[in-house]
């Protein structure tokens, strides 16, 4: 029997491995409500080759491997459900290439959103990427692997749609490139015109391989950003309001949110409308188009634009926004978790009613923020609850409310976003049998030992 710790030290060096209880404690949990489970080792590789060697070792010894970005999914996606090795990717944080003309960047698998943002601001101020509303320490690879969304999702789709190529260490230890980098030096396409193999890894939550490099699309960074805030007190009008806005085809991002606290927000549904421009004239033109598009709701007195003073605009325009952290601390104790199904916009009123119903049933503080995807084809609808981490009963109630929310979303024909292991099972129970078999076939073939993030997307379970 080999000494795993020594073998891991041989691969990454002493400073890159730990099985100290205090470190394992941290790596056994995430900020959500799911129960912790301890890994046996934490390893922080510095290169693709080190990742490869670790995976080869794990495959040989049949040890679970859980790749981890910053561990902020809130859904327990990197809690090592069956122990093993947590592979902390944060030391692989280099920006390898920016092709400013083709507008893409290639980064290592542990590169954070904040690092790329800062790099672009400094070196390529006319470029930006789709920054999610998550802490800047969250990583780009983790975000695309769970189909994350960001500030440009309304215009260009899920952040995973913006991938331009992947380098992956397969569960059997081979290094594999996907998309245009598989046949040449350029990272401009993850699939087309080849068969799109990126689907074998995106959305799989690290169950089919470890992303060690990712190419990501960049977009024009306009000189000005601005925001308007439209409110209505009738949830049933929200889909039509969004339809009018998406028809404009010129907005950066659209979020719809409602929450009972602070009181100023109570009773209204808020539509944050973000837009950009290179001149003030362009901004003013777009502002007028936005107002004109919603005139009918103002005429009927059902909706109107909020007077936004500069400090309020600054808060709304902040990227990433900090208001989620504020919300998490309302009941004190800093806990926050949400279910975020991808759903049809026309179902908004029913989802909104469900949030309030669940909050009342479980006596919880709620908030909801929906983000429009791809010009209005769908939305991510968050059903969010804040909780006190030092209140086990409250955490249990949140867990129950979220479970119920996911069943509701599935009943409504929605798709769970970054589902935890329980939600994955619920989803698979409803999946068409042949689709489920295909899923099983892919997982089995890519990960014959079942070592990659086990407990997640386990078709055999």
């Amino acid at each position: 029997m080999i000494d795993i710790l020594t073998s891991l030290i041989d691969i990454v060096g002493e400073k890159g491995v730990s099985n100290a209880p205090e470190e394992l404690w941290f790596y056994s949990r995430d900020p959500g409500v799911l129960a912790p489970h301890q890994p046996d080792y934490v390893v922080a590789p510095k290169s693709t080759e080190q990742v490869q060697k670790i995976v080869q070792l794990a495959c040989r010894e049949k040890i679970p491997v859980v790749p981890m970005g910053n561990g902020m999914s809130l859904a327990g996606l990197v809690i090592p459900l069956k122990g093993g090795i947590v592979l902390d990717m944060k030391r692989m944080n280099k920006i390898l290439e920016v092709n400013a003309v083709a507008r893409y960047a290639v980064v290592e698998g542990g590169t954070s959103q904040g690092v790329l943002k800062a790099y672009l601001q400094k070196n390529h101020p006319t470029l930006r990427h789709s920054l999610p509303d998550a802490p800047p320490t969250t990583t780009i690879a983790a975000n695309v692997s769970l189909h994350g969304q960001g500030r440009l999702t309304h215009q260009y789709g899920f952040n995973s749609d913006m991938v331009t190529g992947l380098e992956v260490v397969l569960p059997t230890g081979e290094i594999c490139r996907v998309g245009s980098p598989s046949i040449g030096p350029y990272w401009f396409s993850k699939g087309p015109t080849l068969p799109d193999l990126s689907g074998l890894f995106l959305g799989w939550l690290g169950c089919t391989g470890i992303i060690t490099k990712v190419g990501i699309k960049l977009y024009p960074n306009k000189k000005f950003r601005d925001v308007e805030l439209f409110v209505t007190d009738r949830a049933e009008l929200v889909p039509n309001i969004l339809y009018k806005l998406t028809h404009l085809e010129m907005l950066e991002d659209i979020n719809v949110w409602f929450q009972p606290k602070p009181l100023v927000f109570a009773g209204n549904f808020h539509v944050s409308i973000f837009f950009t421009g290179d001149t003030e004239e362009e901004i003013e033109f777009k502002r007028k188009m936005i107002w004109d598009s919603l005139q009918e709701f103002m005429d009927s007195k059902d909706g109107g634009f909020v007077s936004l003073f500069q400090y309020m605009k600054d808060m709304l325009l902040e990227m990433p926004g900090r208001n989620i952290a504020d919300f998490a601390d309302v009941p004190k104790g800093g806990g926050f978790e949400y279910s975020g199904p991808i759903a049809l916009i026309e179902h908004y009123p029913r989802y909104a009613a469900k949030v309030v119903e669940l909050a009342e049933k479980y006596n919880l503080l709620y908030a909801s923020a929906a983000r429009l995807i791809s010009g209005g084809h769908a939305m991510m609808f968050s059903i969010s609850f804040a909780f006190n981490r030092n209140d086990p009963d409250m955490m249990k109630r949140v867990e129950k409310a979220l479970d119920e929310a996911m069943i509701f979303a599935l009943d409504m024909g929605g798709i769970p976003w970054k589902p935890n292991f329980k939600e994955q099972k619920l989803t698979m129970q409803r999946m068409e049998p042949n689709a489920l078999r295909l899923l099983q076939m892919i997982k089995k073939n890519l990960d014959p030992q079942g070592i990659m993030n086990p407990g997640n997307w386990e078709v055999n379970a």
Partner: protein, 344 residues
């Protein structure tokens, strides 16, 4: 519930109908039509005024006979279940200004310095000018003049909240309340009087206080020698007798305010409420005319009385080359307490 003291006989016998004829946002063919519309309002009938009034308060000043046409319009709108701004905006303002027990009270004895519910006023009420009263500042919804709800035709909110505000001040045991917000003074005098509410302390208009203090600090004043345009707020229409204080203060600190089209009785609103009530087209037009007029008069600075006007217009006047400054900061500049460049 308090009732508006509106003298119908005075209105019925009015020969000028100035309240509506002078309105800058509605037009009438003459006395007969304007007077006729007011009669309809008085008799609780439908009137286009109830649909079109942008709530600038100016008719309160145009009426020279002590009646309250704007309050009547607002009362009638609410009675008819009408909304000026969209319903969710109205709701938001009611919620935003609700008393929630989150207020600040300084070292209050005989006098209180009211900062209303406007954080910017706290910073203004400081320094040499306010040295004897700054520590007596009070702030919060519990001390906020609720007049803003007249913009939304929700006089019931004013009638419900204003007595509580008055009572909150009374409980502090004050003899005087210096109102840093123009609208607070207007509320505690004009609105309270119109609804028969007793105010058991003396409201002091901050410009009276400011003028007095600047006289006391005369030796410290270096005339500013600048040219300004003054943005008169809507609430000043409730207390037109106080409008002359602006010129007195300007004179004392060496500020020129050349005559312009939209001044005094003809002043234009900052238009933020117009934006909410009528949309951006009228608001943009009003703002453009207003700022054009300021520039045509040769102004270098745009001087504000109301922080809400300042928040609304600062960026817009800045983009056109005017420096936005509150009149208190202007006085601080005159006594060397604030740099000219600090005006923002």
């Amino acid at each position: 519930m308090y009732k508006l003291k509106f003298n119908e006989k005075v209105c019925a016998s009015c020969r000028s109908a100035d309240c509506l004829l002078k309105c800058q946002y509605m037009t009438f063919s003459g006395h007969q039509e304007a007077h006729g519309e007011m009669m309809k309002i008085m008799k609780c009938k439908d009137s286009r005024v109830l649909d079109d009034c942008v709530t600038c308060y100016a008719c309160e000043e145009y009426c020279r006979r002590g009646n309250h046409p704007f309050f009547l319009i607002s009362e009638r709108r609410e009675e008819k279940g009408m909304f000026t701004a969209p319903r969710p905006i109205t709701k938001q303002w009611i919620n935003m200004t609700a008393m929630q027990g989150k207020y600040l009270v300084g070292d209050v004895k005989d006098k209180a310095l009211s900062c209303c519910y406007i954080p910017e006023l706290g910073a203004l009420g400081t320094g040499e000018i306010f040295k004897d009263v700054a520590s007596a500042a009070v702030f919060g919804a519990e001390f906020m003049c609720p007049a803003v709800h007249s913009h939304f035709a929700r006089m019931s909110v004013i009638k419900e909240r204003l007595p509580i505000v008055i009572e909150n001040f009374r409980k502090l045991g004050v003899k005087e309340v210096i109102c840093l917000h123009d609208e607070c003074y207007g509320t505690l005098t004009s609105i309270a009087e119109a609804y028969g509410m007793e105010v058991p302390f003396k409201p002091v208009y901050y410009m009276d206080f400011l003028l007095e203090r600047m006289k006391q600090l005369k030796d410290k004043i270096t005339p500013l020698g600048i040219t300004v345009a003054y943005q008169r707020p809507c609430s000043n229409r409730l207390i037109p007798e106080k409008h002359t204080l602006v010129k007195k203060i300007f004179k004392l600190i060496g500020v020129k305010a050349p005559k312009r089209v939209y001044q005094d009785e003809n002043a234009l609103c900052c238009a933020e409420i117009i934006r909410a009530v009528s949309g951006y087209k009228l608001a943009d037009d009003v703002r453009k005319r207003n700022i054009d007029d300021m520039l045509n008069a040769g102004a270098e600075y745009c001087v504000f009385n109301c922080p809400a006007c300042q928040l609304t217009l600062s960026e817009k006047v800045s983009k056109r080359g005017l420096k936005p400054v509150h009149i208190i900061d202007l006085c601080k500049m005159a006594i060397g307490e604030k740099e000219r460049e600090a005006a923002s």
